[in-house]
């Protein structure tokens, strides 16, 4: 009896500092943000009403959903292609694929966005090269629009899409694939009718992760969108620092959390957390 009591004390003492820190520095201020959304500039549901009626907010929401959906399809498809080689390739292929996945993964979002500016801008590598071979006379507008945003975001999110796919592909029973081949199925057919369906949980997990990340993305759209294709996160930033319309910024934040929370609940319904990593 004395033992269990001291155990409980020990657990409480060890766990308390972090829990206290997060309550004070994170949970409590979040409630403050929720309060803002109901009280600024005037008390009431005005900000939530504005969310449903304001044309600008609506168009930003729709654009964010559209970009997130496109980025999800692009990232998961690209990640699938490179993950197949990372998991199933020959030893040399595996090392090369791993290098290509992990190096960008560890490089900061700013450096990566800047790299795309260097490639896609009017005086960037692609336009300079296309002009020097005489393929185009005027530089193409590849950045400061939605195209640039989608390219930059997909580049950032492909490594994140890889991990759930890799774990699904690793846990798959290789004998089933060999059996399909042995029974005369072509390589293509084995891939589409056996391999892909067996990695379904990885595809769902990967798509949801990318989609959820895309919704709150800030830096890449702000740099590569050049203020023209504003997404939700940048709208929150602008509302707080340029308007300053803290109430609306707070209300959008609250809606974003609720939406992402619902998507995460969906994720854990279909995919067990352990399958993701």
């Amino acid at each position: 009896m004395r033992d269990t009591l001291s155990d409980r004390m020990g657990a409480a003492l060890l766990m308390a500092p972090l829990l206290l820190f997060l309550v004070l520095a994170y949970a409590w201020p979040f409630l403050g943000v929720v309060k803002w959304s109901f009280t600024l500039p005037t008390p009431g549901l005005g900000q939530y009403h504005a969310l449903l009626t304001d044309d600008l907010v609506q168009s930003v929401f729709i654009r964010t959903l559209r970009i997130a959906a496109i980025v999800t399809v692009v990232s998961v498809t690209a990640a699938y292609a490179i993950t197949v080689v990372w998991v199933r390739g020959s030893p040399v292929q595996r090392i090369l694929a791993e290098f290509c996945i992990l190096v960008p993964f560890w490089i900061s979002v700013l450096t990566r966005a800047f790299g795309w500016v260097a490639l896609l801008s009017n005086r960037g590598l692609i336009n300079t090269w296309l002009q020097s071979i005489g393929f185009i006379s005027e530089p193409l507008t590849l950045v400061r629009n939605e195209f640039g945003v989608i390219v930059g975001m997909s580049h950032f999110l492909i490594p994140f899409a890889v991990f759930p796919l890799a774990s699904a592909m690793r846990s798959l029973d290789e004998r089933v694939l060999l059996a399909a081949r042995g029974l005369g199925s072509s390589r293509m057919r084995t891939f589409w009718t056996v391999f892909v369906p067996m990695t379904r949980s990885g595809i769902i997990g990967s798509a949801l992760i990318v989609f959820v990340f895309s919704l709150g993305f800030f830096i890449t759209p702000a740099i590569l969108g050049g203020g023209r294709s504003v997404m939700i996160a940048e709208l929150i930033y602008l509302r707080i620092f340029q308007s300053p319309d803290w109430g609306l910024g707070a209300a959008i934040s609250v809606v974003l959390v609720v939406f992402v929370g619902a998507l995460m609940a969906l994720l854990f319904r279909y995919v067990r957390p352990k399958q993701l990593v």
Binding site: A81, R88, L102, W106, A118, A250
Partner: protein, 267 residues
């Protein structure tokens, strides 16, 4: 034993994706060597002037030193908090463990921009009370970064604890070791690799953090990513290309060193 290997179509697609992933990292190299004052490709002549401006312009050096200081403080804070919490969870397995761990992981799951608004609220509230701890102070940034990095540190330490044999701890306990002794002399030496990794990851995450930093700094606490952001938004400064090249080289070297040391795939 035959194995199922990717065919030619898969390989071609994978190479295209690999090129896509590496291209923007390679593109900054020629830009960093341009003699032009603006972002452009070098036309014939190469120059190291943008590398020189990194050293000569005091703003870059100051922001690098500030980022290092903030990184060390926030990494220390988040590693100590995460370690203490994880030891509590592992040694005592209290009820509601899942809920508590879930709560700790929130800053990792909530969209960063919402965390940024939350921390902006926190630090502007504190600013009224204290002038060195609130909005646009280095201590404020370090605390905010700790909130953002602590879930990652916790995950890493919990993973290394989960690989530890419980019987070691039971034996120490049976031999009469107290909680403090078990934690510091039995468990921590066994997971030191995990602790060091957690501290390093927290430092790297703080070093790169921009989403939250943007909301909680204005003119005083200008970290390196914040300075890069300012350079990228206003007029694109090729010094950023030079800096990017250096950061990319460091990353590649660290990853290579790590895979040689551990001799296993980096997670």
């Amino acid at each position: 034993m035959p194995t199922y290997r990717p065919g030619p179509v898969s390989l071609i697609l994978a190479v295209l994706v690999a090129l896509f992933l590496l291209l923007p990292l390679l593109a900054v190299v020629p830009v960093s060597l341009t003699p032009s004052r603006m972002l452009a490709m070098p036309t014939g002549e190469l120059s190291l002037r943008h590398y020189r401006s990194l050293i000569e312009d005091p703003r870059w050096i100051q922001s690098i030193l500030l980022s290092i200081r903030i990184g060390i403080v926030s990494s220390a804070l988040s590693t100590v908090l995460a370690l203490s919490f994880s030891l509590g969870v592992w040694m005592f397995q209290p009820r509601f463990t899942a809920a508590l761990v879930g709560f700790v992981l929130l800053p990792m799951v909530v969209p960063p921009v919402v965390s940024a608004v939350t921390l902006y609220f926190l630090l502007t509230s504190i600013s009224g009370i204290s002038s060195f701890f609130g909005y646009d102070t280095w201590l404020g940034v370090a605390m905010a970064h700790s909130v953002m990095t602590v879930p990652f540190a916790t995950v890493l330490i919990l993973v290394s604890l989960s690989q530890l044999d419980r019987r070691i701890d039971l034996a120490a306990r049976g031999l009469g070791a107290g909680v403090w002794e078990r934690a510091t002399r039995i468990i921590m030496p066994n997971i030191k690799f995990g602790i060091v990794t957690a501290a390093l990851l927290s430092f790297v995450l703080s070093w790169e953090e921009i989403g939250v930093t943007l909301f909680i700094t204005s003119v005083n606490a200008i970290t390196l990513p914040r300075l890069m952001w300012m350079g990228l938004r206003d007029n694109i400064d090729p010094a950023i290309a030079a800096l990017s090249v250096i950061l990319i080289i460091i990353t590649v070297l660290v990853l290579a060193a790590r895979s040689v040391i551990t001799r296993r795939p980096v997670p």
